[in-house]
Subunit: 331 residues, 2 copies
């Protein structure tokens, strides 16, 4: 059974020969060969080059026995392609020239030619598809709410207070922006599926800032529309542990769990939940923890081994190797 | 009925004439008079001066109709008084010279003379007690886990990965450090009660980094011991919304809720949960939101109005005034 078949069986609710494995942010700074590429190319230059995206996505597959690959991209290419002025300043993270805090500013975002302007992403998907035919290929997008947070705040933030305040102060403008971002996310995910992605994952990195009631009001409708309108299996990742019930009702094939969610709390098709900090703790501890989790899963095979958040930059490649090997041992 | 009586009635599970109100971080950067004090005094200098602590704690009471005051201090004075080398670098937040990652390093922390070395905190409590006799006086401490996070990581962090990795790699050292910090927190809270604090609040700012199972294993025993061994009413604050069931079982008189917890989810004596971002949204929105929450509370009066996290530095004093006035309207 190939990794691709394994992942697709799990997301269809069927048991694979053994549980598949991949890691969020498996292509990234923890790999010296990735840092070597980045030494010569800016982040946005890398994201816009299908050849370089393919190279860095293949790097972890050369080192580790993984079942899936994910297109190398960034969630903020969507608002950028709608006309938002995205900047990445080293050390400061992403920012936008002008925060969007009115319905007029939301309407000024240009969603019409989005997929033309994001052709480089779909080219990267096609290229990776050809280079890794036996791996499950994940496409992805940020959730409408997460993109909204960056656009309204104007930059990364601890708690995105301006983004949350706009919900209360200008609910119509907030809804308008969220709706337009939902349309854009659907278009972007569809185009990735058309380019060859087997499955798409929605990253709701900042959904956990909201209470369950606020999540039902502001996030759930758009997320449900995405699951309904994008062809093929969909996976939803939310950073945070208090929205498991809300996210379970939105029609996704699988839920990718943050490390604050206990595995035995969620039924159905799951992915993730291993604390990235585990990979700082040494190979013996990694093996013991994987065995403990396997015991928790019991006979349930509809689970994709993964982390509850991205690989930490200080992780050693050896630790990732130990994790993947331990997963293969327990199946 | 004084503010003091009002708060003490609520924490005893009895109805007050109307629900009391105070705000986490009500003494702080959002007030120009606080910034004026800080212009001439470093943060640790301020914390170590009972006179200045009293002055900045009284500042919000002069402006707003609040029912409670909280001693001005910092959670990190406890590990500092145990010998950890605490530094506050402007813009970078707190850091410690040498992270603590072994049982020997945990044992080297000196808990014996703790309350002698923290006499300036108790002097600040006595001084504030005398200056605000009709306000409920809160003492506080960081939770053992939250202090552990800073000591093991060695500095503030997004997710404290080294602190979490130590739980898995060196569980005996982690437990030893947590136990020693629990003893220190109990001693520090007792001494505040002896100095005149009516109630003490434990801030578990980083408890939300753990899953419910990990919270039960690593945090719950120490937190339960604190609630049992500290005299007088105790309040527990956890930043995060997925631990409501765990924290409800620990013996605290009240739970101070983060803004990711819906008010109708929790029974018993509660405090908090208003999103600090609300205070960025303008007085009309503040009033409407307070009315909505009052409707949610219905006849339940065993609730202390407060925020789900501290007042944001960019909040206007007018917004805080509008919030307190709105609370007084709904009772």
């Amino acid at each position: 059974m190939t990794g691709r078949t394994r992942v697709l069986r799990v997301l269809a609710g069927k048991s694979p020969d053994h549980r598949p494995v991949w890691l969020m942010r498996q292509a990234g700074r923890f790999l010296p060969e990735y840092r070597a590429v980045r030494a010569n190319h800016g982040f946005l230059e890398l994201v816009r080059s299908p050849a370089l995206c393919t190279e860095v996505a293949l790097q972890p597959l050369r080192r580790f026995d993984l079942d899936a690959t994910i297109v190398f991209s960034d969630i903020l290419v969507v608002p950028e392609a709608m006309g938002a002025d995205l900047r990445f300043v080293a050390g400061d993270g992403p920012s936008f020239g002008e925060p969007i805090r009115t319905a007029a500013a939301a309407d000024a975002l240009d969603g019409a030619g989005l997929t033309d302007r994001l052709g480089y992403v779909y080219e990267a998907v096609r290229s990776l598809r050809a280079a890794a035919p036996e791996h499950a290929l994940y496409g992805f997008a940020g959730s409408p709410w997460t993109l909204y947070c960056y656009l309204v705040q104007g930059e990364g933030s601890d708690g995105f207070p301006e983004a949350k305040a706009l919900l209360l102060r200008e609910p119509a403008a907030a809804r308008r922006l969220l709706d337009r971002l939902t349309d854009a996310v659907i278009a972007h995910l569809r185009a990735q599926v058309e380019a060859g992605a087997d499955v798409v994952q929605v990253f709701d990195s900042w959904g956990g800032l909201l209470s369950p009631a606020a999540y039902r009001e502001w996030c759930a409708p758009g997320l449900a529309r995405i699951a309904a309108e994008v062809p093929g299996p969909t996976v939803l990742y939310v950073r945070g542990g208090h929205l498991v019930e809300e996210t379970g009702r939105l029609g996704y094939a699988g839920l990718s769990l943050h490390d604050t969610v206990d595995l035995d709390r969620v039924a159905g098709v799951t992915q993730g939940n291993v604390d990235p900090a585990l990979l700082l703790a040494g190979p013996d501890v990694v093996r013991a923890d994987v065995r403990r989790r396997a015991a928790q899963l019991g006979g349930r095979r509809t689970h994709v081994w993964n982390l509850g958040h991205g690989v930490l930059p200080g992780t050693s490649p050896e630790a990732v190797g130990a994790f993947v090997a331990a997963v293969r041992e327990v199946g």
